[in-house]
Symmetry: D2
Subunit: 140 residues, 4 copies
Amino acid sequence: MPQLHHVQVFRIRYSDVDQMGTYYNARALEWFEWGRTELCRTLGKSYRQWEEEGVRLPVMTAHVDYQGRAQYDDELRMTTTARMDGRAKMRFDVEIVQSETAAPVCRGHTIHAITDRSGRPIRPPKWLLALMETSGNPTP
Amino acid sequence: MPQLHHVQVFRIRYSDVDQMGTYYNARALEWFEWGRTELCRTLGKSYRQWEEEGVRLPVMTAHVDYQGRAQYDDELRMTTTARMDGRAKMRFDVEIVQSETAAPVCRGHTIHAITDRSGRPIRPPKWLLALMETSGNPTP
Amino acid sequence: MPQLHHVQVFRIRYSDVDQMGTYYNARALEWFEWGRTELCRTLGKSYRQWEEEGVRLPVMTAHVDYQGRAQYDDELRMTTTARMDGRAKMRFDVEIVQSETAAPVCRGHTIHAITDRSGRPIRPPKWLLALMETSGNPTP
Amino acid sequence: MPQLHHVQVFRIRYSDVDQMGTYYNARALEWFEWGRTELCRTLGKSYRQWEEEGVRLPVMTAHVDYQGRAQYDDELRMTTTARMDGRAKMRFDVEIVQSETAAPVCRGHTIHAITDRSGRPIRPPKWLLALMETSGNPTP
């Protein structure tokens, strides 16, 4: 059964950190997007394949709660979870903690339209619904 | 009387745009932060001066609603508004539209702690409260 | 007569600065690209129009010499100059200094292929050659 | 014996790609910096530790040759090599290829001053020279 969540571990890069010595706030959204990519791969079809098949997931809403500092080279653990949000949208919840101590770094979510190449909303493809239905309790 | 909102016009750079041909979602938070910088300057004291005087405004929450596409070289108009959020936090609301047509691009807000250099919450300095009180109706 | 160089003034954003308190090294290439965009506009045809007409300028080589520090909110002055590099390539030279003191910040250049949408090299369009020939001595 | 080169494999993120469908040119310098971080770790002392001991490696020169396209989600292989450049500078050479085909993506180098916290040049610490001397033939 495909997993609907994905855990990945990574280190903060020099380019992620600002002069307060912690990660710059916009980086969180880049990490969230990276988490979506890796979760899709885990589900059995990479997001690149989604795009090749004509599906796009433009972000409609993004929300981040910043919970704790994280410095250059800190090792973080990011957990990404996917679910349908109604019948026509997808939602990804993300939680990032310090890898060693599990101290919270940030958490948030993004909500996505499901569209074709030109940005027009489409009904979710069957393979996508099938993936999403394989889980009894998709919330983390 | 100092303004509690600020309007700035800018063009989308090549580096802001992804392969969907619209601005990459994390860029919104970089623009929001730039708006805060320019609003603070308008208020009479640059954010760099705030920092030199020991005040930091780390982001606690960020929220973005993506409303419309915007391409490379589009001219956008961003309006940033500041207010106190309770007695110990600041809130900035941002709205970005297409400069020519006023078509919505994105809007959102950030909520900030007020801290010292080491990240410890502090009471807002008097000059900050004075700035914030000069407006009868600080909400946009 | 169109100018083959362009001067623009801008401030360093918070997101440009790393924990050393100076601009992060990769930002220089983003600024260079922004300079190219604004220079093209000055020349009478925006780079977006170039793209719409099927011309691309992918970077073949980039070189940066880092000369001095520049902090958050420093005002910089960037001068960008264009010329043909042989018959099939373009070269942009860039110089960035502190706006107030003219202290050097960085300088460098990029060399670009001239290609069609698919990345295949093409002969420079006539309008491009005409633009480039309007200057007797295009080097800064 | 510590290695003076390091190989790492990574995938291109959505945020790395521009509307030409290939990686944005400035990303190369971010990858190069990430390669330096991981190489230092391999050498036995992380760059974060270097910084904690008061050593900084500000970039003096960066050079990139762009050799081939690379799309979102492509898997790349980056090889980073370190050596002294004279007695007071360090040089890192980087080569990035497609992981599957070894097709060239880009290559380049950065040259770094060795300074203290305040940016003043210092003589390389003994531990650094010791690391660099362990290799008979440091060039890749």
